[in-house]
Structure formats: C-alpha cells, structure tokens
C-alpha cells in the first residue's frame, strides 16, 4: 500500500536529486537552471511534467491532488510581498505542501 507519506517522500527525493546523479538514468531535477531566468518565466507545468515522467505514480493523481503554487515577489497589483527578487515555489501533494528552495 502506497500512502501519501510515501508519495511525499518520493517528491522530496526527486527534489533533492540533481540530474545525472544515478548511473544511466535521467532521473532528477535541474532547479538551478531556473535561477538564470527571469523570475516571471518560471514554468510550473514543465516542472510538473518532468516530475511526472520520473515518478510514474504521480501520473495517476488528478490535478487537484497534485499542485504547484508559485509566489512571486510581487502580487498581481504590483505590491511587494516579501523580497522582490525571490520566487517561492511550493509543491502540494494531497494537500501536503513541500516547499522547495527559494
């Protein structure tokens, strides 16, 4: 039986594994790449797609069981929220939030 905790562990494992860390596999993320881009260019769908490819069980989850929340430095009215040069990305699995590096 695979529980929510297991899925959360999988996502954390994926987030803490850089690409090419395992022999012969493409498994892992490349979040550092996002640092070189404009903060507005952050594409959550691409991140989710890559994660789903590496962790097949996520593909069976529906959209509201797996989500990604991006908090930019400014809100939609241009008012500063926190520091303007940071993007907070939070991945939610079954509503359990996993914050990833800022």
């Amino acid at each position: 039986m695979i529980t929510t905790d297991d899925v959360v562990a999988m996502v954390s494992h994926w987030l803490s594994t850089p690409k090419n860390a395992y022999f012969g596999q493409n498994y892992g993320q490349d979040l550092k790449r996002e640092l070189l881009k404009n903060t507005n260019d952050f594409n959550a769908d691409r991140l989710i797609a890559e994660m789903k490819k590496d962790i097949p069980i996520l593909a069976t989850l529906s959209d509201n069981q797996l989500g990604i929340v991006v908090q930019h430095g400014v809100d939609e009215h241009g008012v500063a929220v926190g520091s303007f040069e940071r993007v907070r990305v939070v991945i939610q699995v079954f509503g359990v939030p996993i914050p990833i590096s800022e």
Partner: protein, 488 residues
Amino acid sequence: MTKDELNQIISASLSHYPTVANRWHNGDPTVGAMLSAMRDMLVAVSDDVAQSVLEPFVKSKPKTIMADAINKGILPIASPCQHFVWIKNTGNFAVNLSAGRALQDNLGRQWRLLSSVNIPPQTTQKILCEQSFLVSNEFVVGVSLPFYEHAIQTENDSHIAMLTLVQSHTGQLVRYAPKLMNVGKGELCFSLSSTDFKTLNLVFGDDDRVGRMAQAGERYRLDVVYCDGFIDTNELKQAVLSELYDEPERSLSFYFFEPSRESAESGLVRQGANPPTLSHLRLLASYPMAYDDNAVFLGNFDMLLRKHFGERANYLAVWNEAVHERHYGASLDNINHLNVCVVAKTPADQASLEKQIAERIGLADNLFLGRVRFMTVSPKPYPIIIQGNLSGIHDLDEIKSKITGLLLTHYGKGSLIASRANPDGFNRQEMARLIYDNVPAFSDRISDFVVIGGNDRQKPHEWVYLDPASISIELNRSADGGTAMWGL
C-alpha cells in the same frame, strides 16, 4: 546479463519484502533509482566481461568477427548481376533508348541499360543490362571537422554496389582511397568505413595529416548504385520499361533470352553477389591483416580474391611459383606467374569471373598483370570412414543419415570449408568435434566414434569435398548391453 534478466532477479529477491516490492513495481524512485542504477551498472559490466573473454586461436563470436572485418576494411558491398537483354521491336518506327533507361523484370527488380541502342522496326537488338539502380543526392558539409563523416543512406533490401563522389562547385571527382592509405596532405579523396556492417560512412581527411578536410558549407554530389546482389537468373523471363516516354516504345518487348530461341546462348555476363555473410567473414577473420588492397605475400592474394570473389565461387585457390613447383615440377614457364583455380557458382559466370580475377590481381600487383594462369580444376571427393559404437537406445540408420547430412552441409560442394585449397585433406579433429557437438547420440559414455581419412597430399588444383558416396559410416551396436550404466 540483460536488463530483463536482472529485472527478473530483482523481482524475485524483492518478494521477501512485500512493501518494498510494491513500491518497486509502482516505480517509487526512492527504491527504484538506486536499484536501477545498480542494474544498469551490472549490464554495462557484463557487456564488458563478455567482450573481454579471450578467443586466443579461433575467432567465433559474431561481435569479434564483425570488428575484425571492419578493422581489415572489408565493407558490406555487393556486386550487381549483368545480363544481356534482347529487345524486339514489333512496331513500324525505329526507337532509340538511351543508356541508363530503367527496366523492371518479372519480379519487380530494377535493371539499367548500360549503353544506348537504336532498334530499327521489325528487328531484335541485344544489349547489356545491369541489375542496379542509381540514387543521386547532394549533401552539404555541416561543420569543418577533421575526418568528417557522412552517412550513406541505405535502401530497403538493397545493397550498395558502388558510389561516386563529386565536389559540386568544381565538378572534381573525389578519389576513393581505401583507409586513406598513400594519400598526401591536401589531396582531395575519401575513404569508406562501417561500424556495424550494415551502414556505410564516407570519411574525409584532415589538412594537417592526410587528405583534405571537408569545409563547412561545401556541397558534394553522391551517386550511389544499389543492387540486389545474388539473383536467380533462371527465373528471369521478360522485362518492361519502367516509364514510357514515347508512343513507339509501346511496341518494344524485352527478353532475357533470345526470343527466337535459335541458339541456347545464355545472356548471363556476370553473376551478382551478396555482401560477405558472417560465415564468410569468419573465414576471412583467420587471415592476417592485409594492407588495403595491395597484396604482397601469397596469403594476401588469397584473402584479396576471397574478399572480392568469395561469394561467387564454389572453389577458389591461388598459388605461386614455389608451391607450383613443389607439386608439379620445375619449368621456366612458372617464373613470375600466379596460378588460380576457380569454379564459379553459376557456370555461365565462369569466364567473366576469371577475367575479373586476372584484373584484380593485376591491380594489386602489376607484376602479375597478364601473368595469371587459370588451371583446370579436378574435383576430388575425399573418402572418410567413421567407425564407432552406439549404445542400444539409438536408431542406427537415423544417426547415419544425420551424420551424412551434417558433414555434407559443412564439407560438401559449395560449402565454405571445401571452397579453399586443403593440402592435407580435411581437418579430422574439427570434423569429430562437429559431429560430437551436433549429434546428441554420442554424448553418453558408451557411444564412441573415430573419423579416419586419407593422409595423402592434395594438389592445389584438386577440389577436395565430401559427397554421399565418399562418406562411409560403420556404426555398430555397443556390446555393453547388460550393465546398468547411466554414465560414470
């Protein structure tokens, strides 16, 4: 060890840990990532182990044989069949056909006219055709790289027969230099290489070392002739033009034999040949390294002929003055001559095969230009006796026919072993091993056999082979019937 085998082992071992097994089967990376990494590492290691198993004397693994052939510059190249075609014009107008016009035979193979022909009304003309088709395309060099490679496209079910390369903007023909041997710096030429014996690559040189480097943006035109290799010429009947350009061309009929059948003349000029097969390559792998196509020693000539004509000959032997005088006595006529014995697979191909062999030897060493003597082959069935005892459970007649069939496929007329000169007769040890490996009846402790063959020297013009009459098998029931022996 393959990936699938290791996956089975992993699944089997994980059955002791149901929770982990469940996570593994559902693709949980916390379990899967390291297990698959270890699995992939083992696959890579076992590949390495398999390759490093030594083959000290006889190369037998397909991978090593292929690698050896590629190293020796043997390429997967076929030679096209050439055949005369009789064109009958039943119309009232003369028709001109230009060289290169495409025909299709009754099995849909493509043929090309090798010269232009004019057929006056109500006459029949004979013209040479080749079973091949030309594909011409232009490519642009992408990057300036030393030893730039360009892959030649392969056509389904067809083999590459020949190719020409022309530099488009100068119209200069690029010379083919096998392995870029004897090429100066800056000289425009190309070589061919193959990595898997299926595809071919063009290789250019390097300005600083050998040949000329292909520059980015340069355009080359590549004309490749493809053919179907060996074709059964007995099945050839009629042909049609692939495309009609003109109304009078409708009244032409094409035959692969003389339509009036006044003479039994065969139209075959040159039999086609497939690229070397793996068993042929295995034989070539036992030759020492040859210097591109420049034969020097006698063994080089043997290999040279086998490489080019082995697929077309049932027997092929070449020997020099020294060998000749040992067998046939001394004579002044032998000086600086090379002697060849060849039996073509298709008798009609014999004359053209001999002509091409003489030309090929002359190309390799012009000392022998016009000094190649073709000897008459005398077929010589090689008598062997197989004596032995067989335990009671086997059917003697069945085993006898099995042995005969086995020996005939490996040592009969047309087999690879019989296609070369065997001065000592056949190797009986190999023959015994072949029987032992392929006839399971001999694998128990009671059954026994020995192969006895003549020890007299065979002359090079004697084509030694086995035929059903030359194999005698004397098998007896084992006398050891009563003891309950299961194998000690």
